[in-house]
């Protein structure tokens, strides 16, 4: 990334990792890496946030919440969030891997897992309180073993099926809602662990490595991998292959693989790949309720094409372009709390929808404005209010995981918590 760097720090920062003022604390979702305190005394360059990537990440996150609320099949087509998020994370991973791989993987896991543990502590406690336990499926040993996936999600963490909700507040089967998005954490973890290997392959054989996951996805789609046993293994490999190309593209972007191509190549190739993906989706029953998520091969192609184009365009903003400047704080907040928002949004949606449903009890509303009660928009608003409160309640875990002073509302505004870094950048 050939962005302008902030001026070098005259003094090595003390223990804390201090990002520059505009930069919120890094989160493992691929937001800017705040490098650890340098060992040597020589001045180093502060990390510079690419605001374009920040914007993409914020849009992706917003789109995820919006889509999980509405279920509109065209939303993932307009903006394939998961692919974008994996690509951004992969990009950052490649950037970090200048340091020893083991250290990088460990630091990534350290920053990813505590927020998950927080969710697990509350979620699993709730499930156990509602009677979920080792005897659930008659194999207590397995239950305990699978429970460890809440600690290190090498596979999908288990959850209680069909639990009751709390009338008027929390809908039924909330545990499934909590566990729903966790595949992302699992896939992310695997990508992180494999990244050192992927990077080696990428340097040797750039394009075969990028395309390999799509080949695996095709192999799945056309039934060459049906022999894989059980459920957990194929599902992990499906997710890995569906979005792997995006992750690797992100790494390839960091490695300059894309820049080595003549500039006309990407825009020429992308429409063909995207069209192939769309064609595959349309000929395989694409409709509401059966969208890209259910057609992994189409998802793989479509996400790959979109991510390729977005990375090709990548303007590398070290500062916001003027018209986007008002978005700075909200984008900063979404970026600083990406994991928290992602982990908690589904339960927020469930609560918001349940609460809004209660409005039907108010007869005047039900008689006069039924359209309002059916409308999605109030639910969306409530969802974001709830997400906001989750940021306040649980967001600080992300700071702890990153070994930073916890903040309540890290939107980059100077009032809160940013003072120190501001002072430093003034000194610089």
């Amino acid at each position: 990334m050939d962005t302008q760097a902030t001026p070098p720090y005259p003094f090595p920062p003390a223990r804390q990792e201090a990002p520059p003022m505009t930069a919120p604390p890094g989160v493992p979702f691929g937001t800017s890496e705040a490098p650890p305190a340098p060992v040597a005394d020589k001045p180093r360059r502060g990390p510079v946030r690419d605001r374009y990537f920040d914007l993409l990440r914020a849009i992706a996150l917003f789109r995820v919440v919006f889509y999980h609320l509405t279920g509109w099949a065209w939303l993932p087509v307009v903006f394939p969030s998961m692919g974008v998020m994996f690509a951004l994370a992969g990009n950052l991973m490649a950037r970090s891997l200048k340091r020893p791989p083991l250290q990088v993987v460990r630091s990534r896991m350290r920053r990813l897992l505590p927020p998950l543990w927080m969710l697990g502590a509350i979620g699993v406690t709730g499930m156990v309180l509602q009677g979920w336990g080792p005897d659930e499926d008659g194999h207590p040993g397995w239950w305990w073993l699978h429970l460890t996936f809440w600690i290190v999600p090498l596979s999908d963490p288990p959850y209680a099926e069909g639990v009751h909700g709390i009338h008027g507040i929390l809908g039924d089967d909330w545990a499934a809602e909590i566990a729903g998005p966790l595949w992302y954490i699992r896939a992310y973890l695997w990508y992180v662990m494999l990244s050192p290997l992927i990077l080696k392959a990428l340097r040797k054989l750039p394009w075969p490595t990028v395309v390999a996951p799509i080949a695996i996805s095709a192999a799945f789609e056309f039934g060459y991998l049906d022999f894989l046993p059980g459920e957990r293994f194929p599902s992990a490999l499906t997710d890995f292959s569906t979005f792997g190309a995006c992750w690797i593209l992100g790494m390839a972007h960091q490695e300059g693989v894309l820049k080595r191509l003549p500039r006309y190549v990407v825009p020429s190739v992308v429409p063909a790949i995207a069209a192939a993906g769309m064609w595959y989706a349309v000929t395989h029953g694409f409709k509401a309720g059966h969208d890209l998520d259910d057609i992994p091969f189409a998802q793989a192609l479509w996400s790959f094409a979109t991510v390729l184009m977005l990375l090709h365009v990548s303007p590398s903003w070290s500062e916001w372009p003027r018209p986007l400047r008002p978005l700075d704080r909200i984008v900063t907040l979404l970026n600083s709390r990406a994991v928290t928002i992602y982990l908690w949004h589904n339960i927020c949606i469930l609560i918001a929808a349940t609460v809004w449903d209660q409005m039907w009890r108010v007869d005047t509303l039900a008689m006069n404005v039924p359209w309002l009660l059916q409308s999605l928009w109030p639910v969306l608003a409530i969802t974001w209010v709830l997400i906001g409160s989750c940021i306040v309640w649980f967001g600080w875990v992300e700071d702890l995981a990153a070994k930073r002073a916890p903040q309540l509302w890290p939107d980059g505004s100077p009032k809160r918590g940013g003072r120190r870094s501001r002072a430093r950048s003034h000194r610089a």
């Binding site: 003549p262 190549v265 825009p267 020429s268 063909a272």
Partner: protein
């Protein structure tokens, strides 16, 4: 396509003012054509047609008196009533027409037997054949509505039903100036077959003031059961009156016509009278005259429909013409360029007895080329052929001349003039040139060391008056650059070789060309009559009887426009200038000798390929859009890929001839979707300018000075890009 210099002019003002008009007119033309196609698809039931038919359902909600009643259902009042045709009267009804083949024959039979009938016509057919509606009304028949495009109304919303009826009335008003109060629902039969799905529709239509007319007997003539069977099914029993269902459209109806020819006289002998519905019921006519705005709306509609049919026919012919023209051109190009390459690449090939070794003058006209001129002159210094360089500074304001002088090179002269345009600069350079062979290039172009030598070799043949070199795009890294690269490679390796063989090369590119001084002097030097002085001079030299040839190895690297805006103004100048030049030299058509030969072979070819064919080319895209949306989608896609494949083959051949790597060809599919269309619109705009006599303004290409040297090896990708010189 022509490839030549990027012209510049001091007149760079008021680009913005052109903006709306430049897009508006061409887009309007395209839009109008597409709208006409849509209209045609609409009245041909290719758009918005709904072919579902509801299976029968329960009928417990239909009143008894309807199920047992007559075929004329009146639901206008509070209580629905039905009417029957009195005994010994027959009302023949014909559905789904009018049909251009069968309806006139039905009408003939009716006329011969002095019979009247009722025609339930669809709006689509009535709009297309209004004269038949007029004939029906004139000959005493009644016309009823059968909806606009024949959907099963029980599937449709009230709004759609309203629309079906009003569109149908509109067609009648346009065709015969009448409205009607008779209606027959599509897919209807007898009263007793009314069911819970169709009854509400009937009630609703009654509330709009229509009589719903079903039938007593159904000839089922659409099954083509034979004349006898049709008559047997149609015939009412015991002298009862009847409404008989027949069809005058929707397929071969010769059985219907023949059955009528027997049925009418037979029944008349039995004492039956054939009347239209209101005659049979002794009621006032169902027709009312339409006047005023309604009438004119109808007439406009019918006119538009017939225009759309006509225009579509023209477009189809045009498509066929352009299709064969394009294919013929590609075929000719492949053949002739192969021939040319074989001829000039033969080991024993010589232009003349002696190679040309005499020194030549290189003219470099420059206007505000500060960024590029140094690279240009330096590339000339490496020339393997003895040259003198004359830089003509056309009143630059950025110190172009000083830059050249400061280089302090031998053999380089700078001539300054007040800004007078490129033709004047070239003429001034010509006046200062010492040698008999003059090479002309642009101030932003870079030559290879061998370029000048290769370019002048053809002058060993004393008949050769001018030589075109091989201009190549230096900045082909971007998409728009790659597209122009493809275009240039095809233009120079297919078009120009073809023109060389046919001896009608339309343009010596301003970026790299060479002239015999005596030829230039005979035609009076450069002229500023047209915007394309290079095309103008080339045609003049042809007319003077000289040969104009292509030297493929004389490569020059030029900087192509990098924005759509710049590309637009460049191409606009080229295409308009070409038109001007063709017009200027139109007299050659009637000349004798070499001028006449060029006028009768070269000019028509050039006009066809460069001015007419590109004008028709958008038809391919119009039919592509139409076919994708409404037509046979799969066939359309296959056809499009077929055309693409032809293009790819030709492009690949051109690239191979030029020893270029094939990778830029991956941008060809997208070029077909985005780039080509810009070129049409540019051409269309030139046409409009030419026809309206508008004046052309342009501005200088914004130069980056990106092309600084030819690639070290010809045929390698990516010329040396030197950003620091910018």
């Amino acid at each position: 396509m022509a490839f030549r210099s990027t012209r510049r002019s001091p007149d760079s003002a008021s680009r913005r003012r052109w903006f709306p008009l430049r897009y508006l007119l061409p887009v309007l033309v395209l839009f109008a054509m597409l709208a006409m196609l849509m209209l045609r698809g609409y009245v041909h039931s290719e758009i918005l047609a709904d072919f579902r038919v509801r299976p029968g359902t329960a009928n417990d909600k239909v009143p008894e008196q309807i199920l047992d009643g007559g075929p004329v259902i009146d639901t206008r009042g509070r209580t629905p009533t039905t009417l029957r045709v009195p005994d010994h009267r027959i009302v023949l009804t014909f559905d789904d027409g009018p049909d251009p083949t069968w309806t006139p024959r039905v009408l003939d039979v009716l006329k011969k037997n002095h019979a009247h009938a009722v025609f339930f016509v669809t709006g689509t057919m009535a709009s297309r054949y209004p004269e038949l509606i007029r004939r029906m009304v004139d000959e005493g028949h009644e016309v009823g509505l059968h909806t606009f495009n024949h959907p099963d109304l029980s599937y449709q919303s009230k709004r759609r039903i309203d629309w079906e009826l009003s569109q149908n009335q509109l067609a009648l008003a346009g065709a015969a100036g009448i409205r009607t109060s008779l209606f027959r629902p599509p897919y209807s039969s007898e009263s007793e077959n009314m069911d819970n799905a169709s009854w509400p529709v009937t009630q609703y239509i009654g509330s709009l003031g229509y009589l719903t007319v079903v039938n007593d007997t159904d000839s089922e003539d659409w099954q083509k059961p034979g004349v006898d069977e049709i008559i047997r099914r149609a015939k009412p029993e015991h002298g009862q009156g009847a409404i008989i269902l027949m069809h005058d459209s929707g397929g071969d109806r010769h059985q219907t016509v023949r059955a009528l020819g027997r049925f009418l006289p037979e029944m008349q002998e039995e004492g039956y009278r054939f009347q239209n519905l209101t005659e049979a019921l002794d009621a006032p006519s169902a027709h009312t005259k339409v006047t005023g705005a309604e009438l004119w709306k109808g007439k406009a509609w019918v006119f538009l429909v017939s225009a759309s049919d006509d225009i579509t026919d023209v477009l189809v012919v045009g498509l066929a013409a352009i299709g064969s023209l394009v294919l013929a051109r590609f075929g000719l190009m492949l053949l002739l360029s192969g021939l040319h390459a074989r001829r000039t690449r033969r080991k024993s090939f010589r232009w003349g007895p002696q190679p040309v070794t005499e020194p030549v003058s290189v003219l470099v006209p420059a206007y505000n080329e500060a960024k590029c001129i140094e690279n240009t002159v330096r590339s000339l210094m490496r020339s393997e052929h003895p040259i003198e360089i004359i830089v003509i500074d056309d009143g630059s304001s950025d110190g172009t001349a000083r830059i050249v002088e400061a280089m302090g090179l031998p053999n380089v002269r700078v001539v300054r003039q007040l800004n007078a345009g490129k033709p004047a600069a070239l003429n001034r350079g010509l006046a200062n040139a010492r040698y008999d062979i003059v090479v002309m290039m642009d101030g932003d172009t870079v030559f290879e060391p061998a370029t000048v030598r290769e370019l002048v070799q053809p002058f060993a043949d004393p008949r050769v008056g001018a030589v075109a070199g091989n201009a190549k795009v230096g900045n082909k890294d971007t998409l728009i650059g790659a597209w122009q690269h493809i275009e240039y490679v095809m233009g120079f390796n297919l078009d120009r070789r073809m023109y060389d063989v046919l001896q009608c090369m339309p343009t010596i590119p301003g970026a790299v060309g060479a002239f015999r001084r005596s030829a230039l002097e005979r035609v009076g030097g450069m002229s500023d009559d047209t915007l394309a002085e290079d095309t103008d001079i080339t045609m003049a030299i042809h007319r003077d009887g000289w040969r104009v040839v292509y030297a493929e190895k004389a490569r020059a690297w030029t900087e192509a426009p990098e924005s759509v805006q710049q590309l637009w103004s460049q191409r606009y100048r080229w295409s308009y200038g070409t038109m001007q030049a063709i017009w200027k030299h139109r007299g050659a058509l009637l000349d004798r000798g070499p001028s006449g030969r060029f006028g009768r072979v070269g000019l028509p070819l050039v006009s066809l390929f460069m001015v007419v064919a590109p004008l028709l080319a958008p038809l391919i895209d119009i039919f592509l859009v139409y076919g994708l949306l409404f037509g046979p989608t799969e066939k359309t896609i296959v056809a499009w890929f077929g055309v693409l494949a032809v293009q790819v083959v030709c492009a690949a051949y051109a690239f191979i001839l030029d020893r270029e790597p094939l990778t830029p060809l991956i941008s060809l599919p997208l070029q077909q979707i985005l780039y080509r269309q810009i070129m049409y619109v540019v051409l269309l705009q030139s046409w409009i300018t030419a026809l309206t006599g508008g004046r052309l303004r342009w501005q200088k290409l914004r130069r980056k000075g990106g092309v600084s040297a030819p690639p070290s090896e010809p045929g390698q990708r990516s010329p040396v890009m030197d950003g620091s010189s910018a």
